[in-house]
Symmetry: D2
Subunit: 137 residues, 4 copies
């Protein structure tokens, strides 16, 4: 598996009139955490795109177990638990700093495409980066 | 079932550098469509909140089958297919105007709570509004 | 001058924990209204971009006189009051439906560039569209 | 004056189909930087709100001198240059890390109100925090 920790602080813009982080914002948090994980394995997503490799989201899921609010420090644990074939699944768990309770968890599934939209296999450079950082659970 | 159609036009802010609507935006589109459906059954969500009834999202799911871009006219078909007990599930399908292909589909699941966060049963006014507009499939 | 009216309904995502529309959202409202005005003069911004003409914002300003909240119906009056030379300025006033009080007003200034970023003069098709719809005040 | 540096990394959600950070996002960046500055003078905005003091934005301005894109490291220099009377003005300058060119600059003006919306004078605790951290230019 690959795992990564990403920290973020909730801004006012992320909250809604219920006083909580708006449910759609978690998909942005997942994206920030996902990009952070890719940088940690030396494969920034911006570099992948420059090589002509795009990983659009084809499925996204989130379960909300608790609430976060303005100025909360959130920790997002991101992980890849299955080595990718045609698609890749990435898992996320969101915590408040100093608290073990999961406030949200979810996953995204991505395909690999060219800029034209044509599906491709996961490129070797991507699979190699995963292998180099893969840790048996 | 309850079903509803909501139309929206993609703005530039909704797009990302892939030239598509950002995946997280669909949860905002779902919300706009959901609120539109509640107004159509004479139960605006703003009125529910004034009565002290909140329907936070406890689960959200979206599958992306195609892409939308700036100035596309999107149609969102929203439906409630099961009469709610403790929770309510709402389904969404997104189309481009004039095209039968689903570009995204998903659902949200909501609980019923008081402002304090305490879970409550779906209020009678809510269940009555559903009954009054319920159509057998 | 060119003037245009655009209607929109505030969604929950647009609000913040103060219970109001978040101040940054007004720039999205301005954009939606601006694109609506360009469509009304038969010059959709998506068409302009396809011709290789981009109008990035080089200045944005907004004054907040009141507050809007979830499910408010807003009306945005958009206008071009000076015929453009190198740049174009667009003005916006936001009202609640049925109320004369301005809740926000502002402007954006845009340059004309090619996709490469190179500045260009306003293209003839753009100036012609303005002339064809120009109304003396 | 009070001055502060805030670092952020551009996420994909912040970009638009021009491949740049969307112009409205800068107001969110300003907010994140502003809240960061208030925490640095031991006056987190979340604490102010708990004391019943709100600082809504009554004016916002931004000039765009350059462009930022996905994964750019941005630095925001935030400053208060005039000691507040009834209102407070906060200034922002956005740079890319390692580059002296300003890519955006702007300001926000805030009033002081109670939750009810009633204008108040800047509270003593706020003025004291400014005095304690004030540096002559």
């Amino acid at each position: 598996m690959i795992s990564n920790r990403f920290d973020l602080r909730v801004i006012y813009a992320d909250t809604d009139m219920m006083g909580r982080v708006y449910y759609g914002k978690y998909l942005e948090y997942f994206e920030a955490a996902r990009s952070h994980m890719l940088r940690a394995i030396n494969l920034p997503y911006s570099e992948l795109e420059k090589m002509g490799v795009f990983l659009p989201v084809i499925e996204a899921h989130c379960e909300y177990k608790g609430a976060a609010t303005f100025e909360d420090n959130l920790i997002i644990h991101t992980s890849i638990n299955q080595f990718p074939k045609a698609k890749i699944r990435i898992d996320y768990k969101v915590f408040k700093d100093g608290n073990e309770a999961v406030i949200a968890k979810g996953y995204t599934v991505h395909s690999f495409i060219k800029k034209t939209g044509q599906p491709i296999r996961p490129p070797k450079i991507f699979l190699d980066a995963l292998k180099n950082h893969w840790v048996e659970e």
